[in-house]
């Protein structure tokens, strides 16, 4: 979940001498200003179908846990002990980064054995038939077909069911009926058909485009379930797939809207939020208790839950449910312990409830303790990390790591100076300024929040100066005073809204946007605009692009 913390704190002029090329590169980036994420001429997308790339996608641990829960009722989260996913673009579900090493293959094997053993405790629950009445072998054959179809998300080919039937027969002959069935479960859960999303598309390409094919209904059902639930389809989706009823946009949209009302959608969306905002790092941060007496490690999961609950509320329960509300809502979700931490009144117990906030001090997720504490040091705030967060996660402008031969040492905590003053060196140092003017002036706007996100009017006895400025954006440039004003500015920004859709594109489709994806991205952005940047509508829009419903024709070996 975590990213390498490449950024450290300050630069020294001396160490930068001789690194002119590096500095030039950063300055050049600043001067140019960011381009739209993917540019494409509207005329290119106006005709034909442009699905973009769609590599096979391996399940993540989250998806594996959900899939075995929905497949077999096994809620033991067996994938929690799997090796962590390799991460790319800040997400752990990117197709190109997810392979299978021997370690993971062993873990798949052992997990499948444990799952099969647990399933064997109550075959009655899983079998579609009564082996006593029907006969064990006939019932096992039915199980192979029914279980295999749900696990592979499409009917088994004859060779596949024959292979599993043989395995069952061997297990029964050598041991017993239950062992035979367990081996079937093990083989299915280790199959590429279960672990990857494999798509072949319809047998024939679309009219006038020999290289593009529509996905069949089984494949569409799987795309829907993994996008919205991070799991396998439910019975209704499977039924629709079996009828071939997911071939048109309206039917797909209807399913998407139904699925968004299911609690599984909330879990999947929370998974996105946690990764997009880097909240997984909360569990590893430490804070200096001498400087922050209000801190205790037990606050960390509460902070995380606050942000995830807040965003869940905005996306699923708020009337507008849009990006602006995420950034500017004058409320949050807290329990009694968190309310005491923030110094607000309201909740009395451990349950999280909606709490109104002082709109002069707090607005949306940007001013919540989770992000403020993650993007801070153990003993002080960090304007750099806070600015970097806004630049990279909200504006989708990746920043390069600092030049390699820079002397980066954090400023000591100095009781005679504000954090802001100590960090100001970046802006005056020509070597660092190139990149740091992109981050620090944004981060200074957060100086009213200390290293654990509590409001402060004074920093080391000096009044806080939380004036800041944004530069190098398409529509947000200029000075501001405080994070509430910053959030309001970002809430109006088309660039930020596009970035949210771009992050969802990467997460939802499992890969970074490339040239071939330009038309799908344009479709997505247009739909998001048309829906007034409502996030739930964005999820629906992800199911309406060419990239979702079509793919390049698969040519074996090509």
């Amino acid at each position: 979940m975590s990213r390498t913390p490449r950024w450290s704190l300050s630069c020294s002029v001396a160490a930068l001498l001789g690194s002119v090329a590096v500095v030039g590169a950063c300055t050049g980036h600043l001067g140019d200003g960011p381009e739209p994420v993917v540019e494409v001429a509207a005329s290119v997308c106006a005709t034909g179908i442009h699905p973009g790339g769609a590599p096979i996608r391996r399940m993540t641990r989250f998806e594996y846990n959900n899939a075995v829960r929905d497949l077999l009722g096994d809620a033991t989260r067996p994938a929690d002990s799997f090796v962590a996913e390799e991460e790319a673009l800040g997400f752990n579900n990117q197709a190109t980064a997810l392979g299978v090493t021997q370690l993971l293959a062993e873990q798949f094997m052992e997990a499948s054995e444990g799952i099969a053993l647990r399933a064997a405790k109550d075959w009655q629950k899983l079998l579609p038939c009564d082996p006593q009445k029907m006969g064990e072998d006939a019932c096992a054959a039915q199980f192979v077909l029914a279980f295999g179809q749900r696990a592979f998300r499409r009917p088994l080919a004859e060779a596949e069911s024959a292979r599993l039937d043989q395995l069952y027969a061997w297990g029964k002959q050598q041991y017993d009926f239950s062992t035979g069935l367990q081996l079937v479960i093990q083989a299915v859960l280790q199959s590429g058909r279960f672990l990857y999303r494999v798509e072949m598309g319809m047998p024939d390409p679309v009219k006038e485009q020999s290289d593009v094919t529509a996905l069949d209904s089984w494949e569409v059902a799987t795309r829907l379930s993994f996008l919205i639930w991070s799991s396998i389809p439910d019975d209704e989706l499977f039924d629709a797939a079996a009828k071939g009823a997911l071939g048109d946009a309206a039917a797909i949209e209807k399913q998407a809207r139904r699925m968004l009302e299911d609690p599984r959608a909330r879990d999947a969306v929370a998974n996105f939020h946690a990764q997009w905002l880097g909240l997984g790092r909360i569990t590893t941060i430490t804070k200096d208790a001498a400087i922050y007496p209000a801190y205790s490690p037990a606050l960390r999961p509460l902070w995380q839950k606050e942000t995830l609950s807040f965003l869940d509320h905005v996306v699923f329960d708020d009337a507008k449910g849009d990006v602006k509300t995420m950034l500017t809502a004058p409320y949050s979700m807290m329990n009694a312990e968190l309310a005491a931490f923030y110094g607000v009144t309201g909740p009395k117990g451990a349950a999280f409830e909606q709490v109104s906030l002082n709109p002069q001090q707090r607005a949306g997720f940007l001013t919540q303790a989770s992000l403020l504490a993650v993007n801070a040091k153990p003993n002080q705030s960090s304007p750099i990390h806070r600015g970097k967060f806004v630049r990279e996660q909200l504006l989708c402008q990746p920043l390069q790591p600092p030049p390699n031969n820079v002397n980066i040492q954090p400023p000591e905590v100095d009781p005679k100076a504000t954090t802001r003053d100590k960090f100001a060196q970046h802006s005056s140092d020509p070597g660092c300024a190139g990149c740091h003017t992109l981050m620090d002036p944004i981060g200074f706007g957060f100086e009213h929040y200390d290293g654990i996100g509590q409001w402060r009017d004074q920093d080391h006895g000096f009044p806080v100066d939380a004036t800041g400025a944004i530069s190098a954006t398409r529509d947000s440039n200029g000075a501001f005073d405080g994070a509430v004003a910053l959030a309001a500015r970002l809430g109006e920004s088309a660039e930020v809204r596009e970035c949210v859709a771009t992050q969802w594109f990467r997460f939802g489709y499992g890969h970074g946007e490339e040239k071939a994806d330009a038309c799908a991205m344009a479709q997505l952005q247009e739909a998001f605009r048309a829906a007034d940047y409502n996030v739930k509508e964005l999820l629906v829009a992800l199911t309406r692009t060419d990239a979702f419903r079509y793919r390049q024709v698969v040519v074996a070996g090509k």
Binding site: A88, N92, G99, Q102, R163, V198, P403, G512, G557
Partner: protein
């Protein structure tokens, strides 16, 4: 440690316990040595303070400096190598840390890709390492008979990106390390105990299931496009590798005893770095003593992970210290202390391996450890004049106890020399453009 049954072991000459698998292994090793050779890659990041790292003296008569001094008792089993350049790491995409770690064992350029941003070029992104690493090449050759072709161990590596991987099965196939000694214990030693009949049944079932899984994967691969097919084939390779080793010997006895991992502590707490490191070395040494693997790597954290060596009285991250000026004596001396501490860990690992008798010597005599890093020193991020140490005996293939000073020889030559010393007679390794042959004077 619990000693369990010894019935699968023979008594060798002199009463030394010999595990049965070694007898069968003799014909497979290229060397005539009666015991298998083992290889361990030992990685620490961010280079060394060169002046404190380099020995003084001549090839055969030298004194270790402050960094390597903890290894003095093993000096007769060391080859200290200076003056070798990681030339390949000056080519291809990536920033110096990314290049340094990915090239360290592969000698191959990184892939261009859209996965990770890097310093110095705001328009470019980089992918994974571009080729197989030397440990995995050895695993392919020497790892066929053991339960694990290789084991990858980490100490708080934690991160999952190109700056945190040095073992590669091939281009864009990073092999992640296991950071948890507890998970590692279960994986490696979990099956060594228990009812033999139950284990036999499990093996028989696994054979059947994995056969079906492989048949299934093969037929699926045939239908996929090239890139997807390759991904599935890598997966299939992993499954085949497990299937091929199901019957590999794995018994407790002789020097092979179950390691004791004690009560569980937080694997990622900064201050547990030494304790987790020690556990991982105990498990690594025992995996080798039990012949569960012959190839391994031990990666000490990620290059820019922000580890603070508090147990040395330090409060700044290693990465931050490594950027300090060579004239900043206070910080440079802390870097020396970090190097010295890692040398102590290597000495500990050597002690452990030397504690297992094997023939007339010890397991250490038949092991080669390569201590490598990503950059020569932090201040410049140079990848020239790298601080390499070879340790152990490599079964007599190397004449140890020397300090060899090279003048810009490429590190690909070191890597191919390692292969040859391990009995794998490759003539080149990594990108051949940076490999001109064996390092002179290295092989005995």
């Amino acid at each position: 440690m619990k000693k369990l049954n010894r019935r699968h072991f023979l008594r060798g000459a002199g009463g030394v316990a010999i595990a049965l698998p070694f007898l069968g292994a003799m014909s497979e090793t290229a060397s005539a040595a009666p015991f298998p050779k083992r290889f361990i890659a030992f990685f620490t990041g961010l280079g060394q303070v060169k002046s404190a790292w380099a020995p003084s003296g001549t090839e055969t008569s030298f004194t270790l400096g402050p960094v390597l001094s903890p290894l003095a008792k093993h000096q007769s089993k060391l080859l200290v190598l200076s003056g070798i350049d990681m030339e390949s790491a000056y080519h291809g995409p990536g920033d110096p840390h990314q290049q340094g770690i990915a090239h360290s064992l592969s000698g191959t350029e990184l892939e261009v890709g859209n996965l990770f941003p890097y310093a110095c070029d705001p328009t470019a992104m980089v992918g994974w390492g571009g080729g197989i690493s030397v440990d995995q090449r050895l695993a392919n050759q020497l790892g066929q008979k053991t339960k694990f072709p290789s084991l990858e161990l980490g100490v708080q590596v934690q991160y999952t990106n190109v700056s945190s991987r040095f073992a590669y099965k091939g281009a864009a196939q990073p092999v992640p390390p296991e950071d948890s000694p507890y998970q590692l214990f279960t994986r490696v030693f979990g099956e060594l105990t228990g009812d033999p009949a139950v284990k036999q049944r499990l093996r028989a079932q696994r054979h059947k299931v994995l056969d079906a899984v492989q048949d299934d994967a093969k037929s699926l691969a045939l239908r996929l496009g090239a890139a997807d097919k390759q991904k599935l084939e890598h997966h299939l390779d992993a499954v085949s590798s497990i299937a091929a080793r199901l019957d590999a010997p794995r018994e407790i006895g002789g020097v092979c005893a179950l390691p004791d991992v004690g009560g569980e502590i937080d694997v990622y707490a900064n201050d547990n770095y030494p304790a987790i490191g020690k556990l991982q070395m105990d498990l690594l040494a025992m995996s080798i003593a039990c012949d569960l693997t012959r190839v391994a790597s031990l990666q000490w954290t990620s290059t820019q992970a922000g580890k603070v060596f508090t147990w040395l009285g330090q409060s700044e991250t290693h990465h931050s210290l490594s950027h300090s000026s060579l004239t900043d004596e206070a910080r440079q001396s802390q870097l020396v202390a970090i190097g010295n501490w890692h040398a102590k860990q290597l000495a500990y690992l050597m002690d452990k391996l030397a504690s297992f008798p094997e023939g007339n010597g010890t397991v250490l005599d038949n092991t080669m450890i390569l201590w490598c890093t990503d950059i020569a020193q932090g201040q410049s991020h140079a990848r020239r004049d790298m601080p390499y140490v070879l340790a152990g005996g490599a079964g007599g293939a190397l004449k140890m106890g020397r300090y060899l000073q090279y003048a810009g020889d490429h590190h690909n030559n070191l890597l191919v020399s390692i292969l040859n010393a391990m009995g794998v007679p490759d003539t080149t390794f990594g990108n051949p453009a940076y490999c001109t042959g064996l390092l002179p004077k290295l092989l005995g």
